[in-house]
């Protein structure tokens, strides 16, 4: 008995030791920066000077009173909702389409996936040129009067960014759905066919329930990713026109590095972490309930 216990203890220690390198990287790369971020958020600091002024929770109360924060959160949440819905549904439909026996489906899958290989910085730059130079040129040569300069107006900038963002990422989520679709046994579809279900009914009553784990993964991933949008804005709109495409991450970066309010930027980062955690937990709870029901 004692020999068994000491053997089990030794095995547990061995397993734990195998996790140490990953734990060290995780701690140094993620946990320590978060703790440091929280530490800096308690100070008024420009990020350069040696002196910091302790404010306690002063930066956090400033967030509540900051008139720009509400606007940036509104844009961020709307952007996240729109992108999640469009990209999620689009990726699912594309996956179903490209899972079927269509011609050149490998080529189509490749073409849809390629944009995810680009950096978001490049995507923003490319779509800025498309909206401001390429599309206006095409429209003008066709003699049409269609407004295509979506980044130029506060009323259309959301749509322009959504198109660019979905174009870039839809392929990635489509691949996740494709992989999940492969795991659905054809017998379920056969049984549904025998029961008289048409294609649409088979999609909603067989495909969707069986894909629920993938849907959870993609939805959570899309939502949290969209809430953290930053790099595409750097080259696409720089948060403009005015502040109409300012996301919370872009605002945080500007506060910390351009306005030299490092402490305030750190406080906003901490509040963003908390919000993202809440969103992820709520989504997981909602979807896991749905998964059980289905």
């Amino acid at each position: 008995m004692n020999k068994n216990l000491s053997y089990q203890r030794r095995m547990r220690l061995q397993y734990a030791s195998l996790m140490v390198p990953a734990l060290v990287l995780f701690t140094v790369g993620l946990i320590v920066p978060i703790i440091m971020c929280f530490y800096f958020s308690l100070f008024s600091w420009d990020g350069f000077a040696a002196e910091k002024v302790f404010l306690g929770l002063g930066n956090y109360t400033q967030i509540v009173h900051d008139e720009y924060v509400m606007g940036t959160w509104k844009f961020t949440i709307l952007f996240a909702v729109m992108n999640s819905i469009i990209a999620d549904v689009g990726a699912l439909l594309l996956a179903v389409l490209l899972d079927s026996a269509i011609r050149a489906r490998t080529l189509h899958r490749t073409l849809v996936f390629i944009p995810c290989l680009f950096s978001s910085i490049v995507t923003g730059f490319v779509w800025k040129k498309i909206y401001s130079v390429v599309l206006p040129g095409i429209v003008e040569s066709l003699g049409l009067k269609i407004y295509t300069q979506l980044f130029g107006s506060p009323n259309t900038v959301m749509a322009g960014l959504t198109i660019a963002n979905c174009w870039q990422w839809i392929g990635l989520w489509m691949m996740i759905y494709l992989a999940a679709l492969q795991s659905i046994s054809p017998e379920y579809y056969e049984a549904a066919r025998v029961d008289g279900a048409n294609a649409v009914q088979r999609f909603f009553h067989v495909t969707v329930p069986m894909l629920m784990p993938a849907i959870i993964t993609c939805t959570v991933g899309l939502t949290t990713g969209a809430l953290k949008t930053y790099d595409i804005l750097v080259t696409a709109t720089e948060g403009g026109p005015g502040r109409s495409s300012n996301t919370i991450v872009y605002y945080t970066f500007n506060a910390a590095f351009k306005l030299k309010q490092y402490g305030y930027g750190s406080a906003m980062s901490v509040s963003l972490i908390i919000m993202l955690l809440i969103v992820a937990v709520v989504q997981l709870k909602l979807f896991s309930k749905k998964e059980v029901q289905l």
Binding site: F48, A49, G152, G242, K258, L259, K260
Partner: protein, 415 residues
Amino acid sequence: MKRLLTLALALMLALTLLSSGMAEAITVDEPTTIRVLWCQPSVLSGLEYEVEAAMADAYPNVTIDWELITWEDLPSKMQQYMQSGMPDVVIAKSQDANNYAQYGVWADLSGKSYLDTIYTEAISSTTIGDQILGMPYLASYGGVYYNRAIFAQYGLEPPTTVDELKHICEVLKENGITPFATHFLDAWFWGWEVAIAVSGELMSTSETWGDEYKAGERSAADEDMQRGIDLIQYIVDNTFEDCFSVEQTTCDARFVKGEAAMQCDMATVSFNFMTLDPTLDFGVFPLPTSQGDGCLIMECDTTFFKSSTTEHEDAVDALLSVMATTDMASMWSQAQGEGSLVEGAVSFETPAQSDIDYYSGIGLSVEQNKITNQIPYNEYWAEFTADLTEYMNNSIDMDTLVERADSRRGACGAK
């Protein structure tokens, strides 16, 4: 014997006197690598390879480790490097002398022989107190670039007052020409345009407007600020309808094709104009103010800074001495399409050069730092521009715009 000793002493004295008058020789005996952080402008020219070739000839022991970024990334890079270790050399804008002087990151270059070749007037752009914190190298002149042929066709002369500018715009519109080409989709350019249009009026009122603003003696509600806002609104009303959707490429093409007669921009557009149409004849005039004292905006936007904590003083001095040669300065000037601040260098010239020389000669050229040292771009003008955009889109009213602007006075004033 006595005669020989006397002769030897005299010789030694002469040599000592001679050497004290000579520029100190720079030697780098050990292999040394220096880190250079370069805020490279939009024109990618491969100049770093030319620098390396020149250094290999003059100082073969010195190698350079380049890091190229955009100027917009400089603040975050500076924050990072001030914590982790500054590069030996930073190539940025002259306004960064003031931006970072308070943190003691720049070395004092006073007395360095390579500064002897830099135009004395330019040195003031990097002089903070009694210290020379950078070597200004290239300068550009911003103003209103105009199509000389169109102006001549309609008998127009460069304006000096806002009323004259408005008359020119009316004449152009009557003849189917859009007065201004603009590219406000580029947020940095929109901010720059707002800054020079508004600050022109502010500087007409007082050369220390920013300091007075910080002290609470001035407000964004004052008449001079409002005149500046009216001027920028006038430009927006007299440019293409899609001005907020257009970026630099399209804007430059419109000007070159003669669809617009004027383009208020930085001097880098000269390079673009000459690339698009080498035969285009264009000039430049200062954006007018209500007082008639508008100035061309001179920006020393390539300036060499030496880190105050560098361990390779001699190697950095070696690099700066190579940069200060007329050959290297001429090459940089031609490649970047900007004026050289090194005496004797062959400076990049555009058709607008005669206008630049004229306005500089009569004192109608102001160094941009005079404005940005008092009212900084990132902390004030960029935010003011965003508020102004919201005002023009009717998202906020003038009272809110003023209130927000005044809430940022703390960021203003000389540091």
